[in-house]
């Protein structure tokens, strides 16, 4: 965080029936509307059935890179919530809780408390205790002195589908809580800060951002199959695609999902599917077909902890090697990993663009934490967004005869024909073929076609030159860091923190992981670093392995040691954990040197 950045972390916790998620979303929505940057995190439970639910919202006056550490404010809806968090809250934290009938020993000395009878407010104002979560949110908003009118509007929207009565009751509960909160404003006066500006921002989850990106990029066909944590992408698109003339169909399985997308892609319609690890594993054969037939299709893989069914609601970055290498034989493909919710939007657009520009399958590697986290993003400027529209082969301008798979100097595909275009009829499929698409197994033709497909990868790598995100403190340093996906911003926050303590880093945080951004990586590896930290959420250090395989020479020449910081417990990295990984290595090295 930069010096002038201020942030506040609020945690909502209660029973699964308490409406915790609604509280968190309501609060976040209000903050986003008022111009704050918001970053949330919620834990979903392993099983459908109840237990404690937590929702954490961090608000700031500048963009946020992580969910933060322990909460400054805890809004507890039951005693368990206090017990869970008490040992961890920082000095001076505020705990807002309902009466527990007697003193609550769990409350730590170093915290401040505010007892409010949410239920009573709800019953009094809304006529039902069920609105106690909204009353509690009102208390918080009142304490922070955030705009009541904005909050009321948000409540209205939240309950719009439940009818006017319900909305009104909840508005009343909100107002009741708000008034109570206002009475205690002094409790938070020292922590309050205004937003940097009053631009209303979009508040989106990663899954929503992917879906929105797809829609924006022109995807009009989506076939999918439900799976945690990716289902929201198809659910959201099911509601929106018909409005723009597209459609979402729930297929019988993931194989059919991708097959349908491939059919639609052959027909010239931008198509996409989204799944998680088990689905990606099932799609591998068809991914190979898309690569061989050179059809543009986007597969989003919202990674979760594997292998197999693994832990469906938990975070991991364990599907990278499958995304990059999954297929018998060798196909051209691109793997892109968004790092933030904003990326989920922009990188999905990029994925669709690439798929069509290069006529290949593109895999977007999101992950569980990213998918369900809500974050504010700047409203997109539609004028500036680049959306690639394929120009199909034109029978009038030719060239004739139409060749679907010719060799080109730059490795780029030529405009393709799609059904309906006269004289463009060709056959595509998974067999090895000649330039026209007809089966051809002659050894020389085969070798040319293999080379042609590999050349595409070079063309793609070239197209991305200069786009890889670099972080450079400017100072001379031997320390480097690379990271990807949801771990990258946490890593960035970590090195920024370390910087203030005097440890300088150079970092490279690529979005495009395959083909690897060769030029950027080469110059990064040649920039003087000697130790390269690579934090990622898997057990076998997948990205580090790919890096070593493809940049063996550069690592050798620059005498760079790769230090993987891995974690596989199903939770995202906290900055503290990456920090620990860095120091563990440095201390060990130090000891070795001093021996």
């Amino acid at each position: 965080m930069s010096d002038s950045q201020q942030s506040l972390t609020i945690r909502f916790e209660g029973d699964s029936g308490d409406g915790i998620i609604s509280m968190g979303k309501l609060f976040s929505r209000v903050a986003a509307r008022l111009g704050y940057q918001v970053y949330t995190f919620s834990t979903f439970l392993a099983v459908v059935r109840g237990g404690q639910v937590t929702f954490q919202a961090r608000v700031s006056n500048a963009p946020l890179l992580s969910q933060g550490n322990e909460p400054d404010i805890l809004v507890a809806l039951n005693r368990q919530a206090v017990a869970d968090n008490a040992p961890k809250v920082p000095n001076g934290a505020l705990i807002i809780h309902p009466p527990f009938g007697g003193t609550c020993e769990e409350i730590p000395r170093h915290a401040r408390t505010l007892e409010v009878d949410f239920k009573e407010i709800a019953e009094g104002e809304a006529g039902t205790a069920r609105s106690k979560n909204i009353a509690a949110t009102g208390v918080l908003l009142g304490l922070l002195n955030l705009d009541l009118e904005t909050a009321e509007k948000s409540v209205d929207e939240l309950f719009a589908s439940k009818g006017a009565d319900v909305a009104e009751a909840n508005r009343n509960a909100l107002r009741g809580g708000y008034e109570e909160g206002q009475k205690h404003r002094q409790l938070l006066d020292d922590r309050f800060f205004p937003p940097a500006d009053t631009t209303a921002r979009l508040l989106l989850s990663g899954n929503e951002a992917v879906a929105l990106g797809a829609l924006t990029a022109g995807v009009r066909f989506f076939a999918g199959y439900p799976i945690t944590p990716a289902s929201e992408i198809m659910e959201w698109l099911a509601g929106q695609l018909p409005k723009v003339g597209g459609l979402m169909i729930q297929a019988e399985d993931e194989i059919a999902s991708l097959a349908m997308c491939i059919g639609a892609a052959y027909g010239g319609v931008k198509s996409m599917t989204a799944t998680s690890g088990p689905g990606l594993s099932l799609m591998i054969e068809l991914l190979g077909l898309a690569g061989m037939a050179e059809l543009p299709v986007v597969v989003v893989d919202v990674q979760r902890a594997g292998p197999s069914t693994g832990m469906p609601t938990k975070e991991a970055q364990g599907d990278l090697v499958l995304a990059a290498y999954g297929s018998h034989g060798e196909i051209p493909r691109v793997v892109i990993a968004p790092q933030t919710v904003a990326d989920c939007f922009t990188q999905t657009i990029k994925a669709v663009n690439i798929a069509h520009k290069f006529q290949i399958p593109v895999i977007v590697l999101s992950s569980q934490s990213l998918s369900h986290r809500m974050q504010t993003i700047e409203p997109p400027d539609f004028e500036k967004l680049e959306i690639f529209e394929e120009k199909f082969w034109n029978p009038e301008t030719g060239p004739h005869p139409f060749k679907r798979y010719p060799e080109t100097e730059d490795g780029m595909p030529v405009p393709r024909a799609i059904p309906g275009i006269p004289q463009g009829m060709y056959r595509c499929g998974g067999l090895e073929h000649n330039e026209f698409g007809d089966p051809d197994f002659a050894p020389a033709m085969r070798s040319r076609m293999v080379a042609r497909r590999l050349k595409r990868m070079e063309a793609i790598a070239k197209a991305f030159r200069g786009t890889t995100f670099k972080y450079d403190s400017g100072a001379e340093t031997h320390l480097g860091l690379m990271s990807w996906g949801a771990t990258a911003p946490v890593a960035l926050e970590t090195i920024r923190e370390l910087e203030s303590e005097g440890l300088k880093f150079r970092a490279l945080l690529p979005h495009v992981l395959w083909p690897m951004p060769t030029v950027a990586i080469r110059s990064f590896l040649a920039s003087g670093i000697r130790t390269l930290f690579i934090p990622e959420l898997n057990a076998t250090a997948q990205f580090a392995e790919m890096l070593r395989a493809h940049f063996t020479k550069e690592l050798l020449e620059n005498n760079i040691e790769v230090v993987s910081i891995t974690k596989d417990d199903g939770l995202p990295f906290s900055p503290a954990e990456i920090r620990a990984g860095v120091f563990e290595y440095l201390n060990q090295r130090h000891q070795e040197v001093s021996k």
Binding site: G246, E252, G263, L289, G420, M425
Partner: protein, 297 residues
């Protein structure tokens, strides 16, 4: 999706050979698939759509080589996935006539689930299955249609699984047009294909098409001897009668040839059209992406 410009449709009436590709079929001499190809060509000539508005989608197998021998758009996908690929194409491009072709293994073994769901969805496709009761391409293993006890390369002592009857499967899974024909009767085949093409919804046509190389026992003569036309007074719109007929045929070991069943029901695309209407009504008018995005503000 109407956004896709489909190019101006050629209007010239298709002549003989219009739909035949330039590649010579690579089937064995005597393979039943030759006459299926010829009959489809004829049916398409009567059907009369320009060749660029037709796409033939297949899986893998001898019969799945079809697209290569036709002068239309074609997609030789992977084993078992023809119907899923065809469904995606048809939904995305309802303006195109989509024909799926393949073998009994492709359709009912590895492709069984897509078969099941394509039938119930009533996608507007014409599916031509070349039923040779064997895996031709891989040189003679049992197909799901192989008769109980049949000796094949993979069942040296005879199969031990009761076979699937393709027309029974299509009929009970929900196809709205089910016909059976045989490669020894080109005119009948042509007629069935044409009816299938004209039917709105899932048209399933089972063609008895012998594999002379790996299932010599079930040749032209065998299929001829075991085929029967439908009874004079047969009413294909009577679903229960159709069920009865197919059960009788299985009991008495004959192949009924003709339109076994036909009924009219909204196609998948039509039902999706209704959904779109509802969606548009909700947003009062056709929305733009910008408007949709605003809901997150």
């Amino acid at each position: 999706m109407s956004d896709v410009s489909a190019g101006a449709a050629a209007t010239a009436k298709p002549s003989k050979r219009t739909y035949r590709g330039s590649q010579r079929p690579t089937w064995c001499a005597g393979c039943g698939d030759y006459s299926v190809l010829a009959a489809l060509d004829k049916a398409l000539i009567s059907y009369g759509r320009p060749e660029e508005e037709i796409t033939v989608v297949s899986g893998i197998g001898c019969s799945s080589r079809f697209p290569f021998f036709m002068n239309t758009y074609g997609f030789h996908s992977v084993h078992g996935r023809a119907l899923a690929v065809a469904t995606g194409l048809k939904l995305a491009r309802p303006d195109i006539t989509v024909i799926a072709t393949g073998g009994d293994g492709d359709a009912l073994a590895i492709g069984g689930n897509h078969f099941f769901h394509a039938m119930r969805r009533n996608v507007d496709l014409t599916y031509i299955l070349m039923d040779n009761q064997i895996y031709g391409m891989t040189k003679g293993q049992a197909a799901p249609t192989s008769e109980l006890g049949m000796k094949t390369k993979s069942t040296p002592y005879g199969t031990f699984e009761p076979p699937v009857d393709p027309i029974w499967a299509a009929l009970t899974m929900g196809a709205t047009f089910v016909a059976q024909t045989a490669s020894h009767d080109p005119n009948h085949m042509t007629e069935m294909f044409l009816l299938g093409l004209q039917h709105r919804g899932m048209s399933f046509i089972n063609c008895l098409s012998p594999c002379v190389t790996f299932n010599a026992g079930m040749d032209r003569e065998y299929f001829k001897a075991h085929s029967r036309p439908l009874p004079e007074n047969y009413d294909p719109t009577d679903y229960e009668a159709a069920l009865k007929l197919v059960l009788q045929a299985r009991r008495e070991s004959f192949f009924p040839l003709g339109v076994i069943h036909v009924r009219h029901e909204p196609t998948l695309a039509e039902r999706i059209g209704e959904i779109r209407e509802i969606a548009l009504k909700k947003s009062a008018h056709r929305t733009s992406v910008e408007e949709i995005i605003r809901q997150f503000l």
